[in-house]
Amino acid sequence: MRISVIIICFVFIWCIGTSAAAEPRAGFVKNVSGEAFIERNKVLTAAKVKDELMENDVLVTGRSGSMGVILQDNSVMSIGPNTRLAISKFAFEPADEKLSFTAQIKKGTMVYLSGLIAKLNRSGVKFDTPTAVCGVRGTHFAIKVEEPGI
């Protein structure tokens, strides 16, 4: 009885492990400076060059940090200090017409140069901030979200 319970637990853990590994990546970290982190499942880890990025990752920088990333559709995105940016949705499978990227910027500065998703899907790229939604059509732009100072 006890042995079968242990086996089931192991199988369960193994299944979770492999399915997580099988998730497609959204991109990777190209460069890092100062305090730069990736928050995944609420765990904050220091970001390193070549780190893989997944959907739902949050890019976080401290007072003196910045980070540049390349996404799977060859768009590039970079953030300055005191920034919090979540990759809330990323799907890039042109053969299945899955072309979608949504980022949420809570605060900070960000620059984005669009790639294939914006090129192939007019409504595919969206940036959300606390006070606005940006629909992107093949372009290069910057967003600054300033939190209210009290």
């Binding site: 990777f28 990333v69 300055g80 901030t129 732009f141 967003i143």
Partner: protein, 200 residues
Amino acid sequence: MRIKKIMLHLVLLVILLSGCASTTQVVILPDPDGKVGTLEVSNVKGTQTLNQPWQATESASMDKAPSEPNILEEKQVRQVFREALEAQPIQPVSFIIYFRKDSSALSQESIALLTKVMDEIHARKSTDIIISGYTDAVGSVDYDRRLSLQRAKAVADILVAKGIDRKNIQITYHGKSNPLIPTPDGVPEPRNRRVEITVR
């Protein structure tokens, strides 16, 4: 007593208002090749469209539409976004190398093109190079899969011989799938006999 009460309420109100919302500023930047795209900035109260370089709009609350776009000074924009701009990676670049039918040999022009590929790899200190092989629709599925892999490998081998770490190269092969120019099966098309190289 009453004045104090009013002042307290006023102070609370001010705090509430300033605590209400962040300010979002959105600025269009010119593309590396000088062109400019389009951006729509919306909140529940309205939308602004940006389509000129350095054009910007602000959304400071959910009660007012984003502001009328105005053109900002380039110098100021570069100052506000300095760190993010400095951290911006060079956009990935792609190359195509073509092949004669049934062949995975590179022409002289192709080999010369690989010098440009090397330059781009070095400029980016790239550790992510994707080499994808393809064929046209002539040949069996199996034959074309093998040929497309041979083509990709031929290109990868040259880059490795020129000093690129094989660990940084990812090879994919597609046989006759994903043609650049769709054709019926069995129809030759030189533009599909190719290898695509993406340098990130």
